[in-house]
C-alpha cells in the first residue's frame, strides 16, 4: 500500500507537468471562445480544453505509463516482493542467476510491448482531426 501511494504521488507530479504542457499547447482562442459561449471555467475545461489536451499528450503519457511499470521495481527496497524482488529471491534461493533475471527481463519486455501497442491503438482511435501527430520536445527522464 505505501508503495502504491508513493508511485501514484511520484507519477502524478510528472503527469501534471505534461498536462500543463498539453493545455499550454492549445490556442488561447479556444478558452476565450468557450467563455464567450457562456460556459463557466469548469465547463470550458471539461468540454473544450481537457478532451483535446489529453489526446495531444498521449505519447508522453505512454512513456509515463511504462515508467510506472519500471519504477515499481524500486519497491523491492522496502521489501515488497514484486517482479524484480522475486527474481532476486529466486536467484538467492537457487543460484540460477541467468534464469531468474532472464525471466524477469522477458516479462518486463512483454508487459511494456503490450502497453506500447495498446497506447498506439488508442492514439490512432482518438487522434484530434486536423492535427499532425504531435511529437513533442525531447524530455529527460526515466
Amino acid at each position: 500500500m505505501p508503495a502504491v501511494l508513493c508511485l501514484a504521488i511520484f507519477t502524478s507530479v510528472r503527469v501534471a507537468e505534461q498536462v500543463r504542457a498539453g493545455i499550454n499547447s492549445l490556442p488561447r482562442g479556444q478558452r476565450m471562445a468557450g467563455t464567450a459561449m457562456g460556459l463557466t471555467q469548469a465547463q470550458t475545461y471539461r468540454h473544450v480544453i481537457l478532451p483535446q489536451a489529453f489526446r495531444i499528450i498521449l505519447p508522453p503519457l505512454t512513456s509515463e505509463f511504462m515508467n510506472i511499470i519500471k519504477n515499481s521495481s524500486v519497491a523491492l527496497t522496502i521489501g515488497l516482493l514484486e517482479l524484480t524482488g522475486r527474481a532476486r529471491a529466486m536467484q538467492e534461493f537457487s543460484f540460477r542467476v541467468f534464469e531468474a533475471f532472464t525471466a524477469a527481463t522477458v516479462i518486463y519486455l512483454l508487459t511494456n510491448l503490450v502497453v506500447v501497442l495498446a497506447m498506439r491503438a488508442l492514439e490512432k482511435s482518438v487522434r484530434v482531426p486536423g492535427l499532425i501527430a504531435a511529437g513533442g520536445a525531447p524530455q529527460a527522464g526515466h
Binding site: S73, L76, T77, R88, Q91, F101, A104, P138, Q139
Partner: protein, 230 residues
C-alpha cells in the same frame, strides 16, 4: 513529531556521509555522465545510420535498455559481469569486480540509451542542407559530424542533457541495492546502526532536494540564455 528528533546524530555522521557517501555518488555520476554522453552520441549516430543492420542494432539496444527497470539492470550487471569477464579471459572462476566498477559500467551503459535518444533529437534538429553542404565541400562523414552537426546538436541539447544528468545523480542512489556505500547507502548504514531512521532519511531527502533543485534552476537559466538563438 519532532519531539525526539536528534540533530546530533546527523552532525556526528556528517564527515562520513560526505567524505565516503557523497564522493562515491559524485564520482559515479561524473563517470556515468561522461561515458554515457560519449557512448550515447555514438549510438545516436548508429541509429541514424543508412545501414539497416547498424541502425537496427542500436535501436534494439536502446529499446531494450529503456524498457527494463534500472534496478534489474544493476542486478544483471552485478551478477553477470564477473561471469562474463571470467568467460572472456578464459578463467575458471568468475573474476572479482567491485561494486563501484560494476555500478559505473551499469550506469554508463544504461544512461547511454537515454542520452542516445536526446542526441538523436539534437542531430535531427539540424537542417539537412547543412549535412549536404558539408559533403559538397568535400568533408568526410566524420568531419561533417565533428565540425558541423555535433557542435550544434550539443548546443541545442545542453539543457536536456544536464536535466538527464540531474536525474542520473538521483538514480545513483539505487546502487544501495548492491550494498555500495553511496550517499543514501552511507546514511542508511548510520540510520540502522543508531536506530535513527527518520532523522537520517529526512536529512538525505533535504540534501538531494537542495542539490537537484538548485541545479535545475541553473539549467533553466541556461536554457533561457541559449534559447534566444533561434
Amino acid at each position: 513529531m519532532f519531539a525526539g528528533y536528534d540533530f546530533e546524530v546527523i552532525q556526528r555522521s556528517l564527515p562520513y556521509l560526505f567524505r565516503e557517501g557523497m564522493v562515491f555518488t559524485l564520482t559515479l555520476t561524473a563517470i556515468a555522465a561522461s561515458g554515457g554522453i560519449v557512448f550515447g552520441t555514438l549510438l545516436a549516430m548508429m541509429r541514424l545510420s543508412a545501414l539497416k543492420a547498424v541502425s537496427m542494432l542500436a535501436g534494439g539496444y536502446v529499446n531494450l535498455m529503456r524498457s527494463v527497470p534500472l534496478v534489474l539492470v544493476i542486478f544483471w550487471f552485478f551478477f553477470l559481469v564477473p561471469y562474463l569477464g571470467g568467460w572472456i579471459i578464459g578463467a575458471k572462476e568468475p573474476i572479482r569486480v567491485g561494486a563501484f566498477l560494476s555500478a559505473a559500467i551499469t550506469f554508463t551503459m544504461f544512461e547511454a540509451a537515454y542520452y542516445c535518444e536526446i542526441m538523436r533529437a539534437g542531430i535531427q534538429s539540424i537542417a539537412r542542407g547543412q549535412v549536404w553542404s558539408g559533403y559538397a565541400l568535400g568533408l568526410s562523414y566524420w568531419q561533417t559530424m565533428g565540425h558541423i552537426v555535433l557542435p550544434q546538436a550539443f548546443r541545442n541539447m545542453v539543457p536536456v542533457l544536464l536535466t538527464q544528468t540531474i536525474i542520473l545523480f538521483q538514480d545513483t542512489s539505487l546502487v544501495y541495492v548492491i550494498s555500495a556505500t553511496d550517499f543514501l547507502g552511507a546514511a542508511s548504514k548510520v540510520a540502522n546502526r543508531d536506530y535513527r531512521l527518520v532523522e537520517m532519511y529526512t536529512f538525505v531527502a533535504v540534501v538531494y532536494f537542495v542539490v537537484s533543485y538548485s541545479l535545475s534552476l541553473l539549467v533553466k537559466r541556461l536554457q533561457d540564455r541559449i534559447a534566444v538563438i533561434r
